[in-house]
């Protein structure tokens, strides 16, 4: 069979397949009229013809047209739909908490790397307040005092920092970016994640120790305790996801490094989804609730206790029976 005969014989099939694929790309009713069996059988035929055309070294325009057709049809037929509320619900109700528990070891390690510097620096600075100046300059230390002063209009921000909405935007941008960086920098043998965890732990501990020593404990703790229920687990989990990446590269086990990394990324990205969710909630609480001075302290602590309990129970037991 010469190339021309081949082309004339199958031209009609190719044109039909092309039209079907074109219809599939549209959003309208034309999409609904595409018959799946017809598409699949035309696709398989095109695959056969492509193999023939290649084996017989037919002219480039025929081979490339078939190549293009099969590639497009392949994309249309094998694509996966991962959107929608059902998928989101599955993620919240099952996938995320399961992923947290599947990464248990990393979560514990990450918690330790975060909490140990936090407690250590907290105690050190509490007993030796001058140490705070080794971490931040005097101006920043003074700003922190101003932020948690008893007569502050809104807690957790300097006087000219702005309204709740401005702070909400600020928390979203900063905190989620930090979470992402904590995850991504784990690619370098986990060192980046370890650094972010330890640094944030140490910094937070030092500030807490300093403010407690200055007698601002009540305002400071009532501020951080509620959104901390979401923010602290989120930091720890993004670190755990990063450690997983790093571990896959350092000790890939029986896989190649590349395969181990692909698998690690695939499984740990689920943690990052959850981290985003937790940090958005944390930002909203931090901007609109934690900072409010008019809420009585017992109420704040009560809500905070509920939040901590809810988050921990969710992470530990949600989705148990799903698998």
């Amino acid at each position: 069979m010469t190339p021309l005969q081949f082309e004339t014989q199958y031209q009609a099939d190719w044109d039909e397949l092309e039209t079907l694929l074109e219809q599939l790309k549209q959003r309208s009713a034309a999409r609904e009229t595409v018959r799946a069996e017809r598409l699949a059988s035309l696709y398989r035929r095109a695959c056969e013809q492509l193999a023939l055309a290649r084996a017989r070294a037919y002219p480039a325009h025929i081979v490339e047209r078939l190549n293009q057709l099969t590639a497009d049809a392949h994309q249309a037929i094998y694509q996966r739909r991962e959107f929608g509320f059902k998928r989101l619900w599955q993620l919240i109700a099952v996938d995320f908490p399961l992923a947290v528990r599947a990464h248990r070891r990393y979560v514990w390690l990450s918690t330790a790397v975060f909490v140990v510097p936090l407690v250590t620096l907290g105690l050190l600075v509490y007993f030796m307040p001058e140490l705070i100046l080794a971490l931040v300059d005097p101006l920043t230390a003074a700003q922190f005092e101003e932020m948690y002063a008893r007569d502050a209009e809104a807690l957790g921000r300097t006087r000219d920092a702005g309204t709740d909405w401005a702070m909400f935007g600020y928390y979203i941008r900063n905190n989620i970016s930090v979470g992402f960086q904590c995850f991504a920098s784990g690619l370098f043998a986990g060192i980046g994640s370890l650094f972010f965890l330890a640094y944030n732990g140490a910094f937070g501990g030092a500030i807490a120790g300093y403010l407690t020593e200055r007698g601002l404990g009540p305002t400071f703790y009532s501020f951080v305790v509620t959104h901390g229920a979401f923010e602290l687990p989120a930091i720890v989990l993004s670190g755990a996801a990063g450690l997983r990446l790093g571990h896959a590269l350092v000790a890939p086990g029986r896989r190649t490094r590349r395969d181990a990394l692909v698998l690690a990324a695939h499984e740990s990205i689920v943690l990052v989804y959850g981290v985003v969710g937790l940090l958005v909630i944390a930002a909203a609480i931090e901007a609109f609730w934690s900072s409010a001075q008019w809420i009585p302290l017992p109420l704040k602590y009560g809500v905070a206790a509920c939040c901590w309990l809810a988050v921990l129970v969710y992470l530990v037991s949600q989705g148990r029976h799903a698998s």
Binding site: P3, C47, R56, Q79
Partner: protein, 231 residues
Amino acid sequence: METLDTVVSAETPEGIAIELRPAGLGARCFAYLIDQLVRFVILYAVALPLSFTGRFGYGILLIVMFLLAWIYPVVFELSRWGATPGKRLLGIKVVMDNGLPITPAASLTRNLLRTADFLPALYGSGIVSMLLRRDFKRLGDIAANTLVVYQPEAAPKVALENVEPRPPVRPLDPQEQATIIGLAARASRLTPERMDELAALAAWVTGDAGRSGPDVTRRVLGVAQWLLGRR
């Protein structure tokens, strides 16, 4: 061929190899710069009206900055083009290793790991990774199993309407046939002089070995015509 070509072939369940042509550092750098420009324009377009709304607008602006930095590429890669505006302009797009459209998880992975690619500075790790690999993947692509590829362009159709077909002096194997037809396909894009030079290399198929000139070219094209099936 093998050592120079960067084509990656992905096999479908039907046993067909789909050819993907990975895009190199140059194209991806340009695409990135264009995307930076687009981000800049969007940011300004949003910032102008928001500047009249005071502190509230400032908060929204920060959220927009966050979205532009992290979510912008994800949204565009998951769109039906599979590419950010910069990539679209350069005719490249992101696909999975097996040629399928990129999944949300993969898109998020490769774009978050941008941070790792950026280190130590100015995409240092990413550039080293891309230069070392045949498929030009940066670290994020390796972890997410994705590939940045050129959108295929249609090959020009062989236009040889007015050439007299003539059989070759001896039967040609498929590779030889493909070469002659490939030459004919390029005829319209080459200068006549260059065409004569190239045709001279194939002149033996018409028994003209060692000669060259417009007549030889014509006869070689005649063989191409015959091979295509016009008799």
